[in-house]
Each structure stands twice: as C-alpha cells, then as structure tokens.
C-alpha cells in the first residue's frame, strides 16, 4: 500500500467490546486503506463493525491491536488531548440523526469546530457563511435546528463537517433518517464535495442506492471485509 497516497490505513486492527461479562470481538485483524480523494461506502449487516471502523478512522475510539493511520498520523500513538486536537483539524463528522446542538442557530452549530481555532470572529463568520453557502442554507443561518426540516438539518451537519476544511469526512448513515428525495440531495451534495473539493469521504450505509454514490464500496461482515466493489464515478 502506498501510504502517501492513502488518506486512511487500518492495519491488522482488532477491536473488542465488553457487553456485561461477555467479550465481543467486533473487528478481526482488519486491513483497510482509503485513498486520498476517494468516496468509500462501507456496507454490511448490523453488528458487522461498520460504525466501529468509522469511529476508529474518526479518532473517536481506539483499537485493541493494530495501527490506524489517518492523514499521515498514527492515531494509536496520540494522547486523548492530542487526538481531540487532531480531530478538530482533520475530520468532519456527519451522523444519521444530525446531532446538532438544539439551542444553537444553524450558523452557531456550523461554527462550533471553529471555536477551537485561533481564527478571529470575523474569519469564523466568513468560514461559516461559505460552508452554509456550499450546502445551500445561507438563508437559514439564524434558524435553530427545530425550525429546519430533516434534510436541512443534515445539510447544516455537513456544513459543520466541512467548515474547518478537514482532510476526511466520515458519515454514519447520513441518509438513514431521510426520505428518498432528500437522501438523494444529501448524497449528491457529498459527491459534489468529493469531486469538486477533493474531500475524502468514508460513509457507512445500509442503503444500496446511497452506496452507489460512492466511488468504491466495501462490504463488511463479522468484522472482516468480505468483498469490494468498484464503482465508476
């Protein structure tokens, strides 16, 4: 594998969860790489380890064994504080249920990751405006999540994910809570970000139609990659 070209490298990764007294090995010596600028869809049945892979790539969780190298950084070597800083610089997250702060307006939600940067208020506002413009919600900047539709909320979440110009965007079932038409809009937006801005995207989905927007598709089952499908962009 050419690590310089790879945005993500998972090597011999083992991850075990404890449920009560029972130990469950979710990932079994998994190897995986995602190239820079790639749009990867991770598919598989529930419990196959998709979200665990996503959490490891996003630096939200740590493996029990193996290496997780994202954007050139071995995440297993970073402390908790270093990992938090790394996340703020390199990863944007999009969740199934949007996970917006209900008391904050759209622009404040989008600007949340920028609070950790040394940017001035004016610079932060500029970045937020650009991000909201990209997702087509510039006119909803002052609306709170409760005043937006599901699709609009997910667009705000995408704007939040891209506002700090991350290296990689990880999406966990980003269209799982949306109707087909809205889901298509969101997926088209992600594809647009991938193609026009070169963002590396790793997306977990159950939806075959959603996976079709990706440039590559990996199927996981019982913590291992079972097959790979390349899709023409």
């Amino acid at each position: 594998m050419n690590e310089i070209m790879d945005a993500v490298v998972l090597r011999d990764v083992v991850k075990t969860y404890r449920r009560g007294k029972e130990k469950i090995e979710v990932l079994h010596h998994l190897d995986l790489s995602v190239k820079r600028g790639e749009f990867l869809a991770l598919m598989g049945p529930s419990g196959s380890g998709k979200t665990t892979v996503l959490n490891l790539i996003g630096g939200l969780d740590r493996p029990d064994n193996g290496e997780v190298i994202v954007a050139g950084e071995d995440l297993t070597r970073l402390s908790g504080g270093q990992l938090a800083t790394w996340r703020s610089r390199h990863v944007g997250f999009v969740f199934q249920f949007y996970n917006l702060m209900p008391m904050l307006s759209a622009e404040r939600n989008v600007g949340l990751p920028l609070l950790l940067t040394p940017l001035s208020r004016a610079e932060r506002d500029k970045h937020v405006r650009i991000a909201l413009d990209i997702v087509g919600l510039a006119d909803r900047a002052r609306h709170k999540p409760g005043e937006l539709s599901g699709g609009q909320q997910q667009r705000v979440a995408i704007a939040r994910a891209i506002v700090a110009d991350p290296t990689i965007i990880v999406c966990d079932e980003p269209t799982g809570d949306l109707d087909r038409a809205t889901a298509d809009d969101i997926l088209a937006l992600l594809k647009e970000l991938n193609q026009s801005q070169g963002k590396t995207i790793v997306m977990v989905t159950h939806d075959q139609k959603a996976a079709a927007y990706a440039s590559r598709q990996l199927n996981l089952d019982k913590g291992q990659i079972v097959n790979e499908v390349g899709i023409a962009a």
Partner: protein, 380 residues
C-alpha cells in the same frame, strides 16, 4: 468570550429550571450576605470602640449617683468625663421608639466621633427641654427643628404623667455607630423634672483616659473606689464591653457562620443535582462537542463555568438584596444592627460561590470528562 454562546445556550435550555436554581442560590446568598454583613457590622462595632474610653455602670440595679463623676475625675489618668441617663420613649405610635441620652455638654469631649457642633450642645445647655435628633431618626419620626414633641416615656414627670415634652433644637447628621439613630437631651431636664423619688442618679458615666495601656488598671481603681459604697459600680473599657455584649447571649460569629454554612450546604446539593440532571440530558451534545475536537478538559471546564456563572449570578443578586433589605435583617434578628457590605463580605461571598460551583459542578464535569464518544453516540 467565544464560548459565551455555548454557555448562554446551556443556561437557556430549561429556563424554568435555571431560574428556580438561580432563585435558590440567590436566597442562600441573601442569607450569607446578611449573616456575613452582620459579622462585619459586629467587627466594626468592636473596631470602632475605643480602648481608652471606660464605661461605668451600676454593679447592682441600674442607677448610681451622678456625684461619682467628681470622684472619678480625681483618679489618675482620667481626662474627660460625662454622665448619661436614658429615657425610653415612644412618639405617637408604640413602634416609634427612641432612647434619649440625657447628658450635658461634656459628652462632646468624651464622644467626639458624634461630630456635633459645640454650638448645638451650648444651645442644649441653655434650653432645658431641648432635644438633638439624628437625621435618620428625625425623618423616621417626621420631626423637624422647632417642633415641640410630646413623648410617652418610662419616667414619671412632675405632673404625675409619663409624658415628657421636648423642644427640637437641632437635627444633626447620622452617625454609623448608631445605625438606629440617636437623640440627646439635657440631663437637668430629667433630673429636675422627674417625680419618681430618684434625683441626681445616672445610668452611666463615661470617661477618657490618657493611656490606653492602663485601661484595666484605671477601671479597677474606679471599681475599688466605690466597692464599699451603697452603690458599687462596674468599670469596663468600651471595647471589652462591646465584645462581652456580642458574646453575651450567643456566639454571634458562630451563629452567623452556621446559618451561612447551612444555606451553602443546601445549595451545594441542589446545584449539584441540577447540574447532574442537566448534563445527563445533554450527553449527546457533549459527545458531539468532543467529536468536533473539544478536549475532555475543555468540556469539563465548560460545565464548571456554567455552574460558576450560575452561582456567581445568584451570589451577586443575593448580596444586592442583602444590601437593600435592612428591614429583612430586623425581621430575622429584631434589634440587631444592620449588616454592612464590606469588601471582605463581598470577597467571602464570591469565594463561597466559586467553591460551591466547583464542588457542586465537579461530579457533572467529571462525568463529561470521562464520557466515551463512541458509546455516547451509540446511545449506550
């Protein structure tokens, strides 16, 4: 400052709960403010009391001969001396009470801090039924200079009634040593006007000495002077007298600290519980904050900041109310001096607020710090 919107959003999340918590903290700090303010007042009373001023009172009963003045003044080290007798009076309503100090011009030298012009005392010496009132007391009783005011008193006047009429000669500025106000009359008026068989007796003799270090020795000499007389006396340096009075019935400092501690203890649990509940409701939000890059310490600090802002706001409001509600003080401790908001009291309250915030917010902050993002996002 850039995190202020997050803080504000957290406090607005459940406005009713925030308001009720704020109200509880405000009430607790109102008590803390009043109690600490009272402590400060007592400390100031002691601090202002002079060591070189000795107060003589009857050892048995309340009256003793005014003639003692002439003997005390001959004791070595005694400088200025004055005598006082008191008339407990009410004006129009039983609640309009005043305690008139019946004395003469010599009081001016013994209590110079009253800061009354000698001219006014000279007028009082000339007008036997004259009366000097402090501004606050005059305002409260709605009495002005030139008024002829009848007081119902505890002394029998020569006409057999207990009604004494006074001629208001002057209204003088208030003095912080007398928060309830003061009134001064002419001793001759009481002495010659009373018809209760008591003449030439006083409640108190007060004198200044030339050397504060000899206060106890001089006080002992005065006591010895009259030890075998029919009316022995107690002579005590003023500061000791006030300290003894404050400790007399109850240890005021312990009492005030105990009340403060009880109220702070109460809000400690209340705020801790509110914060724990608030954080529990916002677990997904904290998980998202950590996801986008907030550190464990960062989110913990935000929770502590939230508690601190709430506690400081409540403490501030409580202190403002404590400062603006002297009537409440008299309702809690009737007759007690009004609390004062010194920098020490404000500092103490702020310190308590920060301490309560840190202790009550710590469990919630710890929970947020320990929060596993992956588990929180998965709803586990």
């Amino acid at each position: 400052m850039k995190f202020l919107p997050l803080l504000w959003a957290a406090l607005r999340r459940k406005p009713a709960r925030t308001l009720l918590t704020l109200l509880s903290i405000t009430v607790a700090f109102l008590l803390v403010g009043i109690m600490s303010g009272l402590n400060a007042r007592f400390a100031k009373l002691v601090e202002d009391a002079r060591v070189d001023r000795i107060v003589v009172t009857a050892r048995y009963g309340v009256w003793f001969p005014v003639a003692y003045v002439d003997q005390i003044v001959r004791v070595g080290g005694v400088k200025d001396i004055a005598h006082l007798a008191f008339i407990e009076a009410t004006y129009q309503e039983p609640t309009n009470r005043l305690n008139i100090q019946m004395t003469d011009t010599r009081l001016l030298a013994v209590q110079p801090e009253m800061n009354i012009e000698p001219r006014i005392f000279a007028d009082l010496d000339r007008v036997q039924d004259g009366l000097i009132l402090s501004q606050g007391l005059a305002d409260r009783l709605r009495i002005t200079v030139g008024d002829k005011v009848p007081f119902a008193t505890d002394r029998v006047y020569q006409d057999g009634s207990r009604r004494w009429a006074f001629n208001v000669l002057a209204v003088v500025p208030d003095n912080e040593r007398f928060p309830q106000g003061f009134s001064i009359g002419n001793f001759k008026y009481l002495n010659e006007g009373r018809k209760d068989g008591l003449r030439n007796v006083v409640h108190r003799i007060v004198f200044l000495i030339d050397n504060p270090e000899r206060a106890s020795a001089i006080a002992n000499s005065v006591e010895q002077l009259f030890a075998n007389s029919p009316a022995p006396v107690i002579a005590t340096p003023e500061r000791t007298l006030i300290e003894n009075n404050l400790r007399g019935v109850i240890d005021m400092q312990f009492f005030t600290y105990a009340v403060s501690a009880a109220s702070l203890f109460m809000i400690l649990f209340l705020t801790g519980n509110v914060m724990a509940q608030s954080v529990r409701e916002r677990i997904p939000e904290f998980a998202v904050m950590k996801t986008v890059g907030f550190s464990d310490r960062g989110v913990s600090a935000l929770v502590l900041l939230e508690t601190t802002v709430l506690c400081l706001l409540g403490a501030g409001l409580g202190l403002v109310l404590a400062n603006a509600a002297p009537t409440l003080t008299s309702a809690i401790l009737p007759g007690a001096p009004a609390p004062i908001m010194t920098p020490g009291v404000i500092g103490f309250a702020i310190g308590c607020a920060v301490l309560v915030a840190i202790i009550s917010g710590a469990p919630a902050a710890w929970r947020v710090k320990q929060l596993s993002i992956a588990e929180a996002l998965a709803g586990r």
